[in-house]
Protein backbone atom coordinates (compact mmCIF):
# COMPACT_ATOMS: atom_id res chain seq x y z
CA UNK A 1 0.00 0.00 0.00
CA UNK A 2 1.52 3.30 -0.99
CA UNK A 3 -1.44 5.65 -1.18
CA UNK A 4 -2.86 7.11 2.02
CA UNK A 5 -5.69 9.40 3.03
CA UNK A 6 -5.61 11.72 5.98
CA UNK A 7 -8.27 14.20 6.97
CA UNK A 8 -8.34 17.39 8.95
CA UNK A 9 -10.94 19.88 10.10
CA UNK A 10 -10.92 23.60 10.63
CA UNK A 11 -9.27 24.58 13.91
CA UNK A 12 -6.43 26.94 14.69
CA UNK A 13 -3.89 24.21 15.42
CA UNK A 14 -4.81 22.11 12.42
CA UNK A 15 -5.00 24.78 9.74
CA UNK A 16 -1.35 24.13 8.77
CA UNK A 17 -2.39 20.80 7.25
CA UNK A 18 -4.51 22.65 4.74
CA UNK A 19 -1.65 24.98 3.95
CA UNK A 20 0.77 22.09 3.60
CA UNK A 21 -1.59 20.47 1.16
CA UNK A 22 -2.14 23.60 -0.95
CA UNK A 23 1.51 24.64 -0.94
CA UNK A 24 2.62 21.19 -2.03
CA UNK A 25 4.68 20.53 1.09
CA UNK A 26 2.87 17.32 1.91
CA UNK A 27 3.25 16.12 -1.66
CA UNK A 28 6.90 16.96 -1.60
CA UNK A 29 7.51 14.80 1.48
CA UNK A 30 5.31 12.05 0.15
CA UNK A 31 7.34 12.01 -3.05
CA UNK A 32 10.46 11.82 -1.01
CA UNK A 33 9.27 8.57 0.54
CA UNK A 34 7.74 7.45 -2.71
CA UNK A 35 4.19 7.31 -1.45
CA UNK A 36 1.05 9.28 -2.09
CA UNK A 37 -0.82 11.19 0.59
CA UNK A 38 -4.27 12.66 0.09
CA UNK A 39 -5.10 15.43 2.49
CA UNK A 40 -8.84 16.01 2.80
CA UNK A 41 -10.60 18.83 4.56
CA UNK A 42 -13.77 17.92 6.44
CA UNK A 43 -15.87 20.68 7.93
CA UNK A 44 -17.59 18.60 10.52
CA UNK A 45 -15.06 17.61 13.12
CA UNK A 46 -16.99 14.66 14.48
CA UNK A 47 -17.70 13.36 11.02
CA UNK A 48 -13.99 13.35 10.26
CA UNK A 49 -13.26 11.24 13.34
CA UNK A 50 -16.11 8.91 12.53
CA UNK A 51 -14.79 8.44 9.05
CA UNK A 52 -11.36 7.68 10.43
CA UNK A 53 -12.83 5.23 12.92
CA UNK A 54 -14.81 3.53 10.19
CA UNK A 55 -11.58 3.00 8.30
CA UNK A 56 -12.06 5.48 5.50
CA UNK A 57 -8.94 7.42 6.45
CA UNK A 58 -5.52 6.32 7.63
CA UNK A 59 -5.00 9.39 9.75
CA UNK A 60 -7.00 12.22 11.22
CA UNK A 61 -6.55 15.19 13.50
CA UNK A 62 -8.31 15.10 16.87
CA UNK A 63 -7.92 15.87 20.54
CA UNK A 64 -6.56 13.43 23.07
CA UNK A 65 -9.96 12.92 24.60
CA UNK A 66 -11.72 12.20 21.32
CA UNK A 67 -8.90 9.87 20.32
CA UNK A 68 -9.60 7.86 23.44
CA UNK A 69 -13.38 7.86 23.26
CA UNK A 70 -14.01 7.39 19.59
CA UNK A 71 -11.40 5.36 17.69
CA UNK A 72 -9.79 3.72 20.73
CA UNK A 73 -13.13 2.89 22.32
CA UNK A 74 -14.26 1.65 18.93
CA UNK A 75 -11.47 -0.88 18.79
CA UNK A 76 -9.34 0.98 16.27
CA UNK A 77 -5.79 0.90 17.61
CA UNK A 78 -4.49 4.44 17.09
CA UNK A 79 -1.18 6.16 17.44
CA UNK A 80 -0.70 9.84 18.21
CA UNK A 81 1.92 10.50 15.58
CA UNK A 82 2.33 14.23 16.06
CA UNK A 83 1.47 16.29 19.09
CA UNK A 84 0.91 19.65 17.50
CA UNK A 85 -0.11 21.83 20.41
CA UNK A 86 -2.16 22.01 23.53
CA UNK A 87 -4.86 24.44 24.34
CA UNK A 88 -3.72 27.28 26.50
CA UNK A 89 -6.80 29.42 26.64
CA UNK A 90 -8.32 28.31 23.38
CA UNK A 91 -11.21 26.70 25.23
CA UNK A 92 -13.21 28.67 27.71
CA UNK A 93 -16.42 29.11 29.67
CA UNK A 94 -18.34 32.33 29.04
CA UNK A 95 -21.13 33.79 31.12
CA UNK A 96 -23.44 36.55 30.09
CA UNK A 97 -23.51 39.45 32.56
CA UNK A 98 -21.64 37.66 35.35
CA UNK A 99 -17.93 37.54 35.89
CA UNK A 100 -17.51 34.70 38.33
CA UNK A 101 -17.56 31.02 37.49
CA UNK A 102 -19.50 30.14 40.63
CA UNK A 103 -22.44 32.16 39.27
CA UNK A 104 -22.95 29.35 36.79
CA UNK A 105 -24.86 27.35 39.36
CA UNK A 106 -28.33 26.43 38.15
CA UNK A 107 -27.83 27.80 34.65
CA UNK A 108 -28.29 26.05 31.36
CA UNK A 109 -24.88 25.75 29.74
CA UNK A 110 -24.70 25.42 25.97
CA UNK A 111 -21.83 23.37 24.67
CA UNK A 112 -20.98 20.52 22.41
CA UNK A 113 -21.84 17.71 24.74
CA UNK A 114 -19.20 15.06 25.43
CA UNK A 115 -16.53 17.13 23.72
CA UNK A 116 -13.37 18.63 25.21
CA UNK A 117 -15.49 21.65 26.13
CA UNK A 118 -17.54 19.39 28.31
CA UNK A 119 -14.39 18.06 29.89
CA UNK A 120 -13.03 21.54 30.46
CA UNK A 121 -16.31 22.64 32.00
CA UNK A 122 -16.20 19.68 34.35
CA UNK A 123 -12.67 20.65 35.36
CA UNK A 124 -13.77 24.22 35.86
CA UNK A 125 -16.70 23.23 38.02
CA UNK A 126 -14.39 21.05 40.06
CA UNK A 127 -12.20 24.08 40.68
CA UNK A 128 -15.08 25.92 42.36
CA UNK A 129 -16.35 22.89 44.22
CA UNK A 130 -19.33 22.15 41.99
CA UNK A 131 -20.20 19.26 39.79
CA UNK A 132 -22.25 18.76 36.66
CA UNK A 133 -25.31 18.17 38.80
CA UNK A 134 -25.38 21.86 39.67
CA UNK A 135 -26.04 22.91 36.09
CA UNK A 136 -27.95 21.74 33.02
CA UNK A 137 -25.97 20.82 29.96
CA UNK A 138 -27.57 21.69 26.59
CA UNK A 139 -26.04 20.06 23.57
CA UNK A 140 -25.53 22.73 20.92
CA UNK A 141 -23.96 22.33 17.52
CA UNK A 142 -20.61 24.15 17.32
CA UNK A 143 -21.52 25.78 14.02
CA UNK A 144 -24.48 27.52 15.62
CA UNK A 145 -23.01 28.53 18.97
CA UNK A 146 -21.96 32.03 17.97
CA UNK A 147 -25.26 33.09 16.51
CA UNK A 148 -27.12 31.31 19.26
CA UNK A 149 -25.26 33.35 21.87
CA UNK A 150 -26.97 36.45 20.53
CA UNK A 151 -30.28 35.01 21.68
CA UNK A 152 -31.53 35.94 25.13
CA UNK A 153 -32.09 32.28 25.92
CA UNK A 154 -28.39 31.62 26.25
CA UNK A 155 -26.61 32.72 29.39
CA UNK A 156 -23.65 30.37 29.57
CA UNK A 157 -21.51 28.57 27.02
CA UNK A 158 -18.39 26.46 27.01
CA UNK A 159 -16.58 26.35 23.70
CA UNK A 160 -13.35 26.66 21.75
CA UNK A 161 -11.81 29.04 19.28
CA UNK A 162 -12.58 30.69 16.93
CA UNK A 163 -16.10 30.57 18.37
CA UNK A 164 -14.81 31.63 21.76
CA UNK A 165 -13.24 34.86 20.56
CA UNK A 166 -16.35 35.70 18.51
CA UNK A 167 -18.53 35.17 21.54
CA UNK A 168 -16.25 37.28 23.68
CA UNK A 169 -16.80 40.18 21.28
CA UNK A 170 -20.41 40.40 22.40
CA UNK A 171 -20.77 43.34 24.79
CA UNK A 172 -22.09 41.43 27.77
CA UNK A 173 -19.85 38.40 27.81
CA UNK A 174 -17.26 37.44 30.41
CA UNK A 175 -14.66 34.73 30.23
CA UNK A 176 -14.85 32.99 33.59
CA UNK A 177 -12.67 29.96 33.04
CA UNK A 178 -10.34 28.82 30.29
CA UNK A 179 -7.98 26.07 29.39
CA UNK A 180 -4.93 28.06 30.43
CA UNK A 181 -5.99 27.05 33.94
CA UNK A 182 -5.62 23.40 33.01
CA UNK A 183 -2.61 23.62 30.69
CA UNK A 184 -1.61 20.53 28.80
CA UNK A 185 -4.86 18.68 29.30
CA UNK A 186 -6.46 19.42 25.94
CA UNK A 187 -4.02 18.21 23.35
CA UNK A 188 -4.34 18.42 19.59
CA UNK A 189 -2.98 15.44 17.74
CA UNK A 190 -2.44 13.91 14.37
CA UNK A 191 -3.61 10.36 14.92
CA UNK A 192 -2.88 7.48 12.55
CA UNK A 193 -3.99 3.92 12.51
CA UNK A 194 -1.37 1.90 14.42
CA UNK A 195 -1.52 -1.07 12.12
CA UNK A 196 -1.07 1.07 9.04
CA UNK A 197 1.75 2.96 10.63
CA UNK A 198 3.61 -0.17 11.65
CA UNK A 199 3.29 -1.58 8.17
CA UNK A 200 4.21 1.73 6.55
CA UNK A 201 6.66 3.77 8.59
CA UNK A 202 7.08 5.91 5.48
CA UNK A 203 3.69 7.44 6.14
CA UNK A 204 4.75 8.53 9.60
CA UNK A 205 7.98 9.93 8.30
CA UNK A 206 6.43 11.86 5.45
CA UNK A 207 3.71 13.38 7.63
CA UNK A 208 6.07 14.33 10.39
CA UNK A 209 8.59 15.77 7.97
CA UNK A 210 5.95 17.84 6.26
CA UNK A 211 4.48 19.07 9.51
CA UNK A 212 7.72 20.45 10.87
CA UNK A 213 8.56 22.08 7.58
CA UNK A 214 5.24 23.92 7.75
CA UNK A 215 5.90 24.81 11.36
CA UNK A 216 9.22 26.34 10.40
CA UNK A 217 7.57 28.35 7.63
CA UNK A 218 4.77 29.83 9.69
CA UNK A 219 6.78 30.77 12.73
CA UNK A 220 8.40 34.15 13.22
CA UNK A 221 8.01 37.72 12.09
CA UNK A 222 9.35 37.57 8.57
CA UNK A 223 7.07 38.64 5.73
CA UNK A 224 7.03 35.08 4.44
CA UNK A 225 5.85 33.74 7.77
CA UNK A 226 3.20 36.44 7.92
CA UNK A 227 2.06 35.53 4.43
CA UNK A 228 1.70 31.91 5.52
CA UNK A 229 -0.29 32.90 8.57
CA UNK A 230 -2.50 35.19 6.49
CA UNK A 231 -3.31 32.24 4.25
CA UNK A 232 -4.14 30.13 7.32
CA UNK A 233 -6.32 32.94 8.63
CA UNK A 234 -8.28 33.22 5.42
CA UNK A 235 -8.78 29.51 5.14
CA UNK A 236 -10.34 29.53 8.59
CA UNK A 237 -12.56 32.42 7.63
CA UNK A 238 -10.91 35.26 9.59
CA UNK A 239 -8.05 37.73 9.15
CA UNK A 240 -4.44 37.76 10.32
CA UNK A 241 -5.20 39.54 13.58
CA UNK A 242 -8.01 37.17 14.39
CA UNK A 243 -5.90 34.14 13.65
CA UNK A 244 -2.95 35.41 15.68
CA UNK A 245 -5.13 36.03 18.67
CA UNK A 246 -6.16 32.39 18.44
CA UNK A 247 -2.53 31.36 18.13
CA UNK A 248 -1.80 33.32 21.30
CA UNK A 249 -3.97 31.00 23.29
CA UNK A 250 -2.53 27.91 21.67
CA UNK A 251 0.75 26.47 22.82
CA UNK A 252 2.13 25.39 19.45
CA UNK A 253 5.08 23.01 19.48
CA UNK A 254 6.92 24.65 16.61
CA UNK A 255 10.01 22.64 17.44
CA UNK A 256 9.88 18.87 17.41
CA UNK A 257 12.00 18.58 20.53
CA UNK A 258 9.40 20.46 22.63
CA UNK A 259 6.76 18.04 21.51
CA UNK A 260 8.99 15.10 22.34
CA UNK A 261 9.58 16.49 25.80
CA UNK A 262 5.83 16.94 26.31
CA UNK A 263 5.06 13.37 25.29
CA UNK A 264 7.80 12.00 27.49
CA UNK A 265 6.67 13.92 30.57
CA UNK A 266 4.80 12.07 33.35
CA UNK A 267 2.11 14.81 33.29
CA UNK A 268 0.66 13.21 30.21
CA UNK A 269 -0.13 10.08 32.13
CA UNK A 270 -2.09 12.02 34.77
CA UNK A 271 -3.93 13.87 32.09
CA UNK A 272 -4.96 10.73 30.26
CA UNK A 273 -6.12 9.16 33.49
CA UNK A 274 -8.31 12.15 34.25
CA UNK A 275 -9.69 12.13 30.75
CA UNK A 276 -10.38 8.41 30.92
CA UNK A 277 -12.24 8.79 34.20
CA UNK A 278 -14.31 11.65 32.89
CA UNK A 279 -15.11 9.66 29.76
CA UNK A 280 -16.07 6.61 31.71
CA UNK A 281 -18.43 8.58 33.94
CA UNK A 282 -20.18 9.84 30.85
CA UNK A 283 -20.41 6.49 29.18
CA UNK A 284 -18.04 7.46 26.41
CA UNK A 285 -15.96 4.33 26.66
CA UNK A 286 -18.87 2.26 25.54
CA UNK A 287 -21.55 0.57 27.55
CA UNK A 288 -19.43 -2.56 27.80
CA UNK A 289 -16.70 -0.71 29.70
CA UNK A 290 -16.50 -2.07 33.27
CA UNK A 291 -14.36 0.80 34.57
CA UNK A 292 -12.24 3.77 33.53
CA UNK A 293 -9.06 1.87 32.80
CA UNK A 294 -10.77 -0.59 30.53
CA UNK A 295 -8.90 0.87 27.56
CA UNK A 296 -5.15 0.86 27.73
CA UNK A 297 -3.12 3.95 26.83
CA UNK A 298 0.55 3.49 26.09
CA UNK A 299 2.83 6.40 26.97
CA UNK A 300 6.57 6.78 27.25
CA UNK A 301 6.23 7.62 30.93
CA UNK A 302 4.29 4.47 31.62
CA UNK A 303 1.04 2.84 30.59
CA UNK A 304 -2.40 3.51 31.90
CA UNK A 305 -5.21 1.02 31.98
CA UNK A 306 -5.65 -2.46 30.70
CA UNK A 307 -2.50 -3.68 29.00
CA UNK A 308 -4.44 -6.37 27.14
CA UNK A 309 -6.68 -3.78 25.53
CA UNK A 310 -4.21 -1.10 24.52
CA UNK A 311 -5.83 0.98 21.82
CA UNK A 312 -4.16 4.40 22.05
CA UNK A 313 -0.43 4.96 21.86
CA UNK A 314 1.61 8.11 22.33
CA UNK A 315 4.98 7.77 20.69
CA UNK A 316 7.81 10.29 20.39
CA UNK A 317 9.50 8.10 17.77
CA UNK A 318 8.82 10.09 14.61
CA UNK A 319 8.97 13.51 16.24
CA UNK A 320 12.31 12.50 17.67
CA UNK A 321 13.51 11.75 14.12
CA UNK A 322 12.39 15.22 13.11
CA UNK A 323 14.18 16.74 16.06
CA UNK A 324 17.29 14.83 15.10
CA UNK A 325 16.98 15.92 11.51
CA UNK A 326 16.83 12.25 10.55
CA UNK A 327 13.90 12.55 8.11
Amino acid sequence: KDSFNVCWSIYVGWMPWGYGDNAGIVDKWADKYDIEINVVQINDYIESINQYTAGQYDGCVMTNMDALTIPAAGGVDSTALIVGDFSDGNDGVVLKGQSDLSAIEGQRVNLVELSVSHYMLARGLESVGMSERDITVVNTSDADLVSAFASDDITAVATWNPLLSEILKAPDSNLVFDSSQIPGEIIDLMVVNTETLEANPKLGKALTGAWYEIMAKMQGDTDDAKAVRTALAEASGTDLAGYESQLDSTRMFYAAKDAVAFVNSPELKNTMQRVAEFSFEHGLLGEGAPDADFIGVEMPAGNYGSASNTQLRFTPEYMQMAADGAL
Binding site: I46, T69, I70, G75, S151, D152
Partner: protein, 272 residues
Amino acid sequence: MKKLINRQPGTVGRWAYGLLPFVLIAIVYTMASGARLADNPNDKLLPAAATMVDSMTRMAFEPSRRTGDLLLWADTLASLERLGIGVGLAALTGLIVGIANGTIPLVRAGLSPVITGISLVPPMAILPILFIAFGLEQLAKIMLIFIGITPFLIRDLQQRTMEIPEEQIIKMQTLGANTWQIILRLVLPQIMPRLISAVRLSLGSAWLFLIAAEAIAATEGLGYRIFLVRRYLSMDVILPYVLWITLLAFLIDFALNRYSRWRYPWFHDRNQ
Protein backbone atom coordinates in the same frame (compact mmCIF):
# COMPACT_ATOMS: atom_id res chain seq x y z
CA MET B 1 -48.85 -15.75 -22.20
CA LYS B 2 -50.21 -12.32 -21.43
CA LYS B 3 -48.22 -9.14 -21.95
CA LEU B 4 -46.22 -8.09 -18.92
CA ILE B 5 -48.42 -5.07 -18.47
CA ASN B 6 -51.50 -7.28 -18.07
CA ARG B 7 -50.02 -9.76 -15.62
CA GLN B 8 -51.20 -9.35 -12.03
CA PRO B 9 -49.63 -11.07 -9.01
CA GLY B 10 -51.94 -13.13 -6.80
CA THR B 11 -52.44 -12.30 -3.13
CA VAL B 12 -49.61 -14.57 -2.05
CA GLY B 13 -47.37 -13.29 -4.81
CA ARG B 14 -48.08 -9.73 -3.80
CA TRP B 15 -46.96 -10.37 -0.23
CA ALA B 16 -43.96 -12.37 -1.30
CA TYR B 17 -42.80 -9.77 -3.81
CA GLY B 18 -43.44 -6.99 -1.33
CA LEU B 19 -41.46 -8.60 1.49
CA LEU B 20 -38.59 -9.77 -0.68
CA PRO B 21 -36.68 -6.45 -0.78
CA PHE B 22 -36.92 -6.08 2.99
CA VAL B 23 -35.56 -9.58 3.47
CA LEU B 24 -32.78 -8.83 1.01
CA ILE B 25 -31.84 -5.67 2.88
CA ALA B 26 -31.74 -7.58 6.15
CA ILE B 27 -29.53 -10.29 4.62
CA VAL B 28 -27.13 -7.81 3.05
CA TYR B 29 -26.86 -5.94 6.33
CA THR B 30 -26.23 -9.09 8.33
CA MET B 31 -23.52 -10.19 5.95
CA ALA B 32 -21.79 -6.81 5.85
CA SER B 33 -21.99 -6.49 9.62
CA GLY B 34 -20.68 -10.01 10.11
CA ALA B 35 -17.74 -9.34 7.85
CA ARG B 36 -16.78 -6.13 9.64
CA LEU B 37 -17.15 -7.70 13.08
CA ALA B 38 -14.99 -10.64 12.08
CA ASP B 39 -12.34 -8.08 11.18
CA ASN B 40 -12.67 -6.00 14.34
CA PRO B 41 -14.99 -7.29 17.07
CA ASN B 42 -15.20 -3.77 18.48
CA ASP B 43 -16.38 -2.30 15.21
CA LYS B 44 -19.18 0.16 15.81
CA LEU B 45 -20.26 0.96 12.31
CA LEU B 46 -22.48 -2.01 11.52
CA PRO B 47 -23.38 -3.59 14.86
CA ALA B 48 -24.92 -7.04 15.08
CA ALA B 49 -28.67 -7.32 15.56
CA ALA B 50 -28.17 -8.62 19.10
CA THR B 51 -26.11 -5.57 20.03
CA MET B 52 -28.84 -3.29 18.73
CA VAL B 53 -31.51 -5.15 20.67
CA ASP B 54 -29.37 -4.86 23.79
CA SER B 55 -28.85 -1.15 23.33
CA MET B 56 -32.50 -0.51 22.68
CA THR B 57 -33.56 -2.58 25.69
CA ARG B 58 -31.26 -0.41 27.75
CA MET B 59 -32.58 2.81 26.21
CA ALA B 60 -36.17 1.75 26.63
CA PHE B 61 -36.27 0.03 29.98
CA GLU B 62 -33.26 1.00 32.09
CA PRO B 63 -33.19 4.44 33.69
CA SER B 64 -30.29 6.49 32.42
CA ARG B 65 -27.36 6.77 34.79
CA ARG B 66 -27.19 10.51 34.30
CA THR B 67 -30.79 11.65 34.40
CA GLY B 68 -32.76 8.68 35.64
CA ASP B 69 -35.09 8.83 32.62
CA LEU B 70 -36.07 6.01 30.36
CA LEU B 71 -34.28 7.62 27.45
CA LEU B 72 -36.20 6.22 24.50
CA TRP B 73 -39.56 7.28 25.87
CA ALA B 74 -38.33 10.63 27.08
CA ASP B 75 -36.81 11.32 23.66
CA THR B 76 -39.90 10.15 21.82
CA LEU B 77 -42.19 12.25 23.95
CA ALA B 78 -40.07 15.36 23.56
CA SER B 79 -39.82 14.95 19.80
CA LEU B 80 -43.47 14.14 19.27
CA GLU B 81 -44.47 17.16 21.33
CA ARG B 82 -42.33 19.44 19.17
CA LEU B 83 -43.50 17.80 15.99
CA GLY B 84 -47.12 17.97 17.08
CA ILE B 85 -47.07 21.62 18.05
CA GLY B 86 -45.01 22.65 15.02
CA VAL B 87 -47.10 20.77 12.50
CA GLY B 88 -50.29 21.80 14.27
CA LEU B 89 -49.45 25.50 14.09
CA ALA B 90 -48.32 25.13 10.50
CA ALA B 91 -51.54 23.34 9.59
CA LEU B 92 -53.64 26.03 11.24
CA THR B 93 -51.74 28.82 9.51
CA GLY B 94 -51.75 26.95 6.21
CA LEU B 95 -55.49 26.49 6.52
CA ILE B 96 -56.29 30.09 7.33
CA VAL B 97 -53.91 31.75 4.89
CA GLY B 98 -54.45 29.11 2.20
CA ILE B 99 -58.21 29.56 2.31
CA ALA B 100 -57.98 33.34 2.43
CA ASN B 101 -55.59 33.32 -0.51
CA GLY B 102 -57.61 30.83 -2.46
CA THR B 103 -60.99 32.45 -1.95
CA ILE B 104 -60.42 36.19 -1.90
CA PRO B 105 -58.68 37.65 -4.95
CA LEU B 106 -57.59 40.81 -3.12
CA VAL B 107 -55.83 38.82 -0.41
CA ARG B 108 -54.25 36.55 -2.98
CA ALA B 109 -52.84 39.51 -4.91
CA GLY B 110 -51.18 40.75 -1.74
CA LEU B 111 -49.85 37.55 -0.21
CA SER B 112 -49.23 35.09 -3.00
CA PRO B 113 -45.98 36.62 -4.33
CA VAL B 114 -44.37 37.07 -0.92
CA ILE B 115 -45.25 33.52 0.10
CA THR B 116 -43.74 32.17 -3.10
CA GLY B 117 -40.62 34.13 -2.28
CA ILE B 118 -40.45 32.88 1.29
CA SER B 119 -41.04 29.31 0.24
CA LEU B 120 -37.81 29.44 -1.74
CA VAL B 121 -35.62 30.53 1.19
CA PRO B 122 -33.84 27.53 2.70
CA PRO B 123 -34.65 27.79 6.43
CA MET B 124 -31.37 26.18 7.50
CA ALA B 125 -29.45 29.06 5.97
CA ILE B 126 -31.10 31.71 8.10
CA LEU B 127 -30.79 29.95 11.45
CA PRO B 128 -29.02 32.88 13.17
CA ILE B 129 -31.97 35.15 12.51
CA LEU B 130 -34.32 32.52 13.83
CA PHE B 131 -32.26 32.29 17.03
CA ILE B 132 -32.56 36.02 17.62
CA ALA B 133 -36.24 36.03 16.95
CA PHE B 134 -37.21 32.86 18.78
CA GLY B 135 -34.37 32.02 21.13
CA LEU B 136 -32.93 28.57 21.38
CA GLU B 137 -35.42 26.67 23.47
CA GLN B 138 -38.62 24.88 22.60
CA LEU B 139 -39.98 27.83 20.61
CA ALA B 140 -37.03 27.82 18.22
CA LYS B 141 -37.47 24.15 17.38
CA ILE B 142 -41.15 24.53 16.84
CA MET B 143 -40.58 27.59 14.70
CA LEU B 144 -38.05 25.81 12.52
CA ILE B 145 -40.64 23.14 11.73
CA PHE B 146 -43.26 25.83 11.29
CA ILE B 147 -41.16 27.93 8.93
CA GLY B 148 -40.03 24.85 7.09
CA ILE B 149 -43.44 23.51 6.12
CA THR B 150 -45.92 26.38 6.34
CA PRO B 151 -45.16 27.91 2.92
CA PHE B 152 -45.75 24.55 1.31
CA LEU B 153 -49.02 24.06 3.18
CA ILE B 154 -50.25 27.53 2.30
CA ARG B 155 -49.45 27.12 -1.37
CA ASP B 156 -50.95 23.66 -1.57
CA LEU B 157 -54.16 24.64 0.19
CA GLN B 158 -54.45 27.81 -1.86
CA GLN B 159 -54.22 25.63 -4.95
CA ARG B 160 -56.81 23.17 -3.63
CA THR B 161 -59.14 25.99 -2.66
CA MET B 162 -58.92 27.42 -6.13
CA GLU B 163 -59.81 24.00 -7.52
CA ILE B 164 -63.22 24.03 -5.85
CA PRO B 165 -65.57 24.22 -8.82
CA GLU B 166 -66.65 27.78 -9.54
CA GLU B 167 -70.18 26.37 -9.88
CA GLN B 168 -70.36 25.62 -6.19
CA ILE B 169 -69.27 29.09 -5.21
CA ILE B 170 -71.91 30.57 -7.48
CA LYS B 171 -74.44 28.14 -6.09
CA MET B 172 -73.70 29.33 -2.55
CA GLN B 173 -74.26 32.92 -3.60
CA THR B 174 -77.59 32.09 -5.19
CA LEU B 175 -78.54 30.50 -1.86
CA GLY B 176 -77.83 33.84 -0.20
CA ALA B 177 -74.36 33.27 1.26
CA ASN B 178 -71.97 36.13 1.89
CA THR B 179 -68.19 35.74 1.60
CA TRP B 180 -67.73 34.63 5.18
CA GLN B 181 -70.49 32.06 4.91
CA ILE B 182 -69.03 30.71 1.70
CA ILE B 183 -65.77 30.17 3.52
CA LEU B 184 -67.39 28.67 6.58
CA ARG B 185 -69.91 26.40 4.96
CA LEU B 186 -68.35 25.55 1.60
CA VAL B 187 -64.61 26.09 1.51
CA LEU B 188 -63.59 25.08 5.01
CA PRO B 189 -65.35 21.72 5.12
CA GLN B 190 -64.20 20.83 1.63
CA ILE B 191 -60.59 21.79 2.38
CA MET B 192 -60.33 19.79 5.60
CA PRO B 193 -59.58 16.41 3.98
CA ARG B 194 -57.18 18.15 1.64
CA LEU B 195 -55.47 19.71 4.64
CA ILE B 196 -54.92 16.23 5.98
CA SER B 197 -53.37 15.07 2.70
CA ALA B 198 -51.17 18.15 2.63
CA VAL B 199 -50.04 17.53 6.20
CA ARG B 200 -49.29 13.91 5.33
CA LEU B 201 -47.17 15.10 2.41
CA SER B 202 -45.28 17.58 4.55
CA LEU B 203 -44.58 15.26 7.48
CA GLY B 204 -41.38 14.00 5.87
CA SER B 205 -39.97 17.52 5.80
CA ALA B 206 -41.29 18.17 9.28
CA TRP B 207 -39.26 15.25 10.62
CA LEU B 208 -36.20 16.58 8.81
CA PHE B 209 -36.57 19.98 10.37
CA LEU B 210 -37.25 18.49 13.77
CA ILE B 211 -34.08 16.42 13.63
CA ALA B 212 -32.12 19.41 12.38
CA ALA B 213 -33.50 21.58 15.17
CA GLU B 214 -32.68 19.00 17.80
CA ALA B 215 -29.19 18.70 16.41
CA ILE B 216 -28.67 22.40 16.98
CA ALA B 217 -29.57 22.65 20.64
CA ALA B 218 -31.47 20.29 22.85
CA THR B 219 -31.32 18.19 25.97
CA GLU B 220 -33.57 15.41 24.76
CA GLY B 221 -35.36 14.22 21.66
CA LEU B 222 -34.82 11.60 19.01
CA GLY B 223 -32.71 13.88 16.84
CA TYR B 224 -30.70 15.00 19.84
CA ARG B 225 -29.89 11.43 20.78
CA ILE B 226 -28.83 10.51 17.27
CA PHE B 227 -26.49 13.45 16.97
CA LEU B 228 -25.14 12.99 20.47
CA VAL B 229 -24.24 9.35 20.11
CA ARG B 230 -22.90 10.06 16.65
CA ARG B 231 -20.00 11.49 18.62
CA TYR B 232 -18.87 8.04 19.41
CA LEU B 233 -20.31 6.31 16.41
CA SER B 234 -22.87 4.31 18.38
CA MET B 235 -24.61 2.89 15.40
CA ASP B 236 -26.19 0.35 17.75
CA VAL B 237 -28.31 3.24 19.00
CA ILE B 238 -28.56 5.26 15.80
CA LEU B 239 -29.90 2.48 13.59
CA PRO B 240 -32.73 1.39 15.91
CA TYR B 241 -33.57 5.04 16.49
CA VAL B 242 -33.84 5.57 12.74
CA LEU B 243 -36.08 2.51 12.46
CA TRP B 244 -38.15 3.80 15.33
CA ILE B 245 -38.53 7.21 13.66
CA THR B 246 -39.52 5.47 10.44
CA LEU B 247 -42.10 3.44 12.32
CA LEU B 248 -43.50 6.52 14.05
CA ALA B 249 -43.68 8.32 10.73
CA PHE B 250 -45.53 5.41 9.24
CA LEU B 251 -47.98 5.19 12.13
CA ILE B 252 -48.75 8.90 12.04
CA ASP B 253 -49.31 8.75 8.31
CA PHE B 254 -51.50 5.71 8.66
CA ALA B 255 -53.57 7.25 11.45
CA LEU B 256 -54.11 10.46 9.50
CA ASN B 257 -55.21 8.51 6.45
CA ARG B 258 -57.62 6.39 8.48
CA TYR B 259 -59.03 9.41 10.25
CA SER B 260 -59.59 11.21 6.98
CA ARG B 261 -61.38 8.24 5.44
CA TRP B 262 -63.59 7.86 8.43
CA ARG B 263 -64.37 11.52 8.86
CA TYR B 264 -64.71 12.55 5.20
CA PRO B 265 -66.26 9.62 3.34
CA TRP B 266 -67.68 11.96 0.70
CA PHE B 267 -64.16 12.97 -0.21
CA HIS B 268 -62.51 9.59 -0.43
CA ASP B 269 -65.34 7.52 -1.86
CA ARG B 270 -65.80 10.02 -4.63
CA ASN B 271 -62.14 9.88 -5.60
CA GLN B 272 -62.00 6.13 -5.69
